[in-house]
């Protein structure tokens, strides 16, 4: 396997394996259309912090649209709804991650996978394109994060 690409989130490097492709919603996709395994990129995982809760709003067999909300995830730093990056049919959901969400942190590209989907088509980014996407959106993402961190601080006082 070739060396992963590296994107610097400030001073923290995140690694992006080159054996798979990426979606703009910060998920990786591996495999072909008949069975795409999907998980969060290390970039997304770093934003979430230590993941302690994952829940699904869909079951295997469900047909989904690209961008459809399919669940919810909560980490130490943030929460987010989960969105599916491709249209198709959900084939499998990683129940082990549901039971033990820290796998997403410890092994985001392998045992921390989220689901398998049979995709209608795969409009995805190459690792290089995903790095470009991250570079372009990082300054704005930082503002978003700083903004939310600021208001969260006040909200919990």
């Amino acid at each position: 396997m070739t060396k992963p690409l590296v994107f610097m989130m400030g001073r923290s490097p995140v690694f992006l394996p080159t054996d798979r492709r990426y979606a703009r919603n910060h998920m990786w996709v591996a495999g072909d259309e008949s069975a795409c395994r999907v998980g969060f990129s290390a970039y997304a995982v770093r934003l979430l912090g230590d993941v302690h809760h994952v829940e699904w709003a869909v079951e295997p067999g469900a047909t989904v649209e690209s961008g459809q909300q399919i669940g919810f995830i909560e980490g130490s730093k943030a929460t987010s709804d989960l969105y599916v990056p491709l249209a198709g049919e959900i084939q499998e959901i990683n129940r082990q991650v549901e039971a033990n969400p820290t796998r997403i942190n410890s092994n985001p590209y392998d045992s921390g996978w989220l689901l398998v989907i049979c995709a209608d088509d795969m409009p995805l980014l190459t690792p290089e394109q995903y790095v470009e996407h991250l570079e372009a959106s990082w300054p704005l993402a930082q503002r978003l994060l700083k903004g939310q961190a600021g208001s969260r601080k006040r909200g919990t006082q």
Binding site: S137, L140, R143, S151
Partner: protein, 296 residues
């Protein structure tokens, strides 16, 4: 310190019958109340910094009750921006909000701000105002000189649009200064953020408010409560939630697009005076184009 209380009624931009009815009943309820001066002014936000409205507000020495159709937090910081200072009083329109208290050398008087959209009936306001007047004037009824008679400050105002900074929240990070393309923000001699050219602001553009990490920038006339100065909305609306990022678009990107639309509009208006291609493309333009092309 005086024991009289000044009541300021900030009129709505467009006075509807229900506004007039509510204001009329409140003014009637306060008439002949000892120790009360009532002044009707045009919309507080629209006042000119060197006009008679602001001049009157600055002349008020004692406690002040401000009534208007805007969030109390917005009213308070508009006053502050015009050097009308005091402690922010708690009311039913603004029951509590910690950490937004102005600190330091605020004068020993209180400014209570009521949002006249809080209750439909005048009694709710009158009851609270009575309570405040009684507390302020306690033991000094005889010395009180006002008699509840109302006066109006005449000032020809126009609808303005500019940011109002909540300095209880602002950390002087200067994100707004760096973000705004219209030269609204500047620095004072101490390198603190300053609304340098309020009227250079693009009417309707609230993008800097969205970009502010502390939710400190208000546009009191904006339809979104979080931007118009509702403290609760701003907390809930910006809860740490990555959904927008993980769905593909985030608020910061949207804010940049909003600002750039305002800029494009300004440039259309300025066509003919600008050089043929005065706006050099930069990375942000490319990003915005890319975002526009995205189908997320």
């Amino acid at each position: 310190m005086t024991n009289s209380t000044d009541v300021i009624l900030s009129q709505p931009r467009k006075s509807l019958p229900e506004h007039e009815k509510l204001a009329g009943k409140i003014l009637a309820g306060l008439s002949h109340r000892p120790g009360v001066h009532v002044t009707v002014i045009p919309h507080l936000y629209d006042l000119s910094p060197d006009g008679p409205g602001v001049e009157h507000l600055r002349s008020v020495e004692g406690s002040m009750i401000v009534l208007g159709w805007l969030y109390p937090r917005a009213a308070y910081w508009v006053l502050k921006a015009n050097d009308v200072e005091g402690r922010l009083g708690r009311t039913s329109s603004l029951p509590e909000e910690d950490s937004d208290e102005p600190s330091g050398d605020a004068p020993e008087r209180t400014i209570w701000c009521f949002d006249l959209r809080t209750h439909e009936q005048p009694e709710a306001y009158l009851e609270e105002i009575e309570g405040i007047i009684a507390a302020v004037g306690e033991g000094a009824e005889e010395a009180a000189t006002g008699n509840g008679k109302s006066q109006a400050v005449e000032e020809a105002t126009r609808s303005r649009w500019y940011p109002v900074i909540d300095f209880g929240r602002c950390t002087n990070c200067l994100e707004c200064l760096n973000f705004c393309l219209f030269g609204v923000y500047g620095l004072d001699p101490n390198d603190s953020i300053l609304i340098e050219q309020p009227d250079a602001c693009r009417a309707g553009c609230p993008a800097c408010s969205r970009i502010c990490p502390e939710g400190a920038i208000m546009f009191p006339q904006h339809k979104d409560p979080a931007i118009a100065g509702d403290p609760k909305a701003s907390l809930e609306g910006l809860k740490l939630d990555l959904s927008q990022l993980f769905a593909g678009a985030d608020p910061a990107e949207l804010a940049a697009r909003e600002r750039d639309r305002a800029l494009a509009e300004q440039q259309r208006h300025a066509e003919g005076t600008a050089d043929d291609d005065s706006h050099a493309r930069d990375g942000l333009d490319d990003l915005v184009d890319e975002l526009d092309d995205m189908d997320l």
